[in-house]
Symmetry: C2
């Protein structure tokens, strides 16, 4: 199975603290690196974790609140100053392009590498990226300004050939691609050999859903249903539900409720208000509703 891991680069909401950076996550799928949001200080976090940031090829920005993108222009600049030539692909709200261009123009910088920008929209779910192994969809969340979540889904793999059975049945090599795709084998003597005899199932495709920032919003449930890992924001605990609702954020209990209703395999909570030094009460509140909950903490790595 390909490696599929999530590294938390920042777990704070709104303002950074001495301990927690604003939102940024690095998703590694088979050594292809996707950066999700890029709060101030992300480039330094990457350095301190010894992640070579020139390897990042795709960056996804959920929305234009500063704690989710103020580190992007600095990362783009450093990639340039350190000699990047490979393209960088950025997916985010339309105005992001204007913000980046204005700052590059102000410093009279012409990037040494192509920066390809693709605008997202927060109206309806949409596939915004795919290659042979993975697809990425954006989908609307419920926030004060247009905001999208991102769903990373592995594509179903081919069935795996059982070489010893192929040899035994003397199946011609040119048929193997069809067998991998699920075809049965019609032997010259007229026998039909069912596909399961000479292949085994590929690993189940895995998925990661990123949901930050959003108020409690059940419309995301069909999109994220059954995800192996759901990251859902939890800016406040339930006792501040009025505060959360006013600011279009979610409480810990609400995040866990979404996880339970969507039948995900694991919930990761983060985007904590700076008021919470001790995160254990948040974990307790979520776990009471959805037991498979973990806390996002800067520097932690999660297997998907």
């Amino acid at each position: 199975m390909l490696p599929f891991t999530l590294t938390i680069l920042g777990s704070s909401s709104a303002t950074p603290t001495s301990e927690r950076n604003p939102t940024a996550q690095l998703l590694n799928h088979g050594e292809k690196l996707f950066l999700i949001d890029c709060g101030e200080g992300t480039q330094v976090s990457l350095r301190r974790m010894h992640i070579h940031f020139q390897r990042i090829k795709y960056i996804f920005i959920s929305h234009l609140h500063g704690d989710h993108f103020f580190g992007l222009i600095g990362l783009i600049s450093s990639m340039h100053l350190l000699g990047r030539t490979k393209p960088l692909y950025i997916f985010g709200p339309p105005q992001l392009k204007e913000i980046l261009d204005l700052q590059l123009n102000a410093s009279q910088t012409t990037l040494l590498y192509p920066l390809e920008f693709r605008a997202t929209q927060a109206e309806k779910p949409e596939v915004i990226f795919e290659d042979g192994l993975i697809s990425v969809s954006s989908f609307p969340m419920l926030h004060r300004i247009p905001t999208t979540g991102f769903l990373f889904q592995e594509k179903p793999g081919e069935r795996k050939i059982r070489k010893e059975v192929i040899d035994l049945l003397k199946i011609p090599v040119h048929l193997i691609p069809k067998l991998k795709a699920g075809d049965d084998f019609f032997a010259p003597d007229g026998t039909v050999h069912s596909n399961e005899i000479f292949t085994s199932s590929p690993p189940l495709p895995r998925s990661y859903a990123f949901c930050s920032d959003t108020a409690y919003f059940e419309e995301i449930i069909p999109v994220i249903r059954g995800a192996n890992l759901l990251y859902h924001e939890t800016t406040f605990m339930n006792d501040r539900i009025v505060n959360a609702t006013e600011k279009f954020h979610s409480t810990t209990g609400q995040a866990a409720t979404i996880a339970a209703k969507a039948g995900v395999k694991k919930l990761l909570i983060g985007h904590y208000s700076a008021r919470y030094d001790d995160l254990q009460p948040l974990l307790n509140e979520a776990s009471a509703i959805f037991s498979k909950t973990e806390l996002a903490v800067d520097g932690m790595v999660f297997e998907i």
Copy 2:
């Protein structure tokens, strides 16, 4: 004497390293806080040094290369989110205002406090701020884009009254302001008492000159002459003088030469290229030309 100190928040050039932030300095004059440049991560550096950043009232930005201002929008946002109501005054190149406004608009943020912006120009020296105790001037430097240095100069204080002599000579109280300004005293018997008899000199006014980024540029010498402390950039050592010149930066030897020619009391070098892990060779190169040189290191505090 009023406290007059400089705290180094960042000493790196271009790209931050794991150890060094990009340029930012905090100048404290009598508990009035001036921030000079604001590279990415400045707000977190301030937090980690337990400096309450809402106390900063004036921010000076030298130019629009990212390593000198990418942290400004984050600091402005955090001041807002943490409830600031007092005005913030920003001095910088004209386009800076547009960059800040675009990002505030994108996040639909209306600041809770007045943000007063005053555009600088890089054509000629100019006083851009003064109050009863200090004045701040900008002056052109020689860089790839318009860039200014900043000179912070204390105003001459009043002469100090020697109370015991005032009492002895029975000088009327209403004359004291004139005596502080330097007047002599004409006694009723016709005797003239020279001012020095009943006053003593105020402390000499102190000054701090900030020069980053610039190529070797002798035109700054008359402006910074005799400064108590000169911060001068030194991106490279002398063996990379071609590199420095091409990029409109200074070598360590050039910084020291400017310090010597300007007759400053102390030189502080910084804005080091990320290539220099060990800074001792830079100190050696500068000290050979100007012995009173010190290294700017993140977190260090210098008395002016």
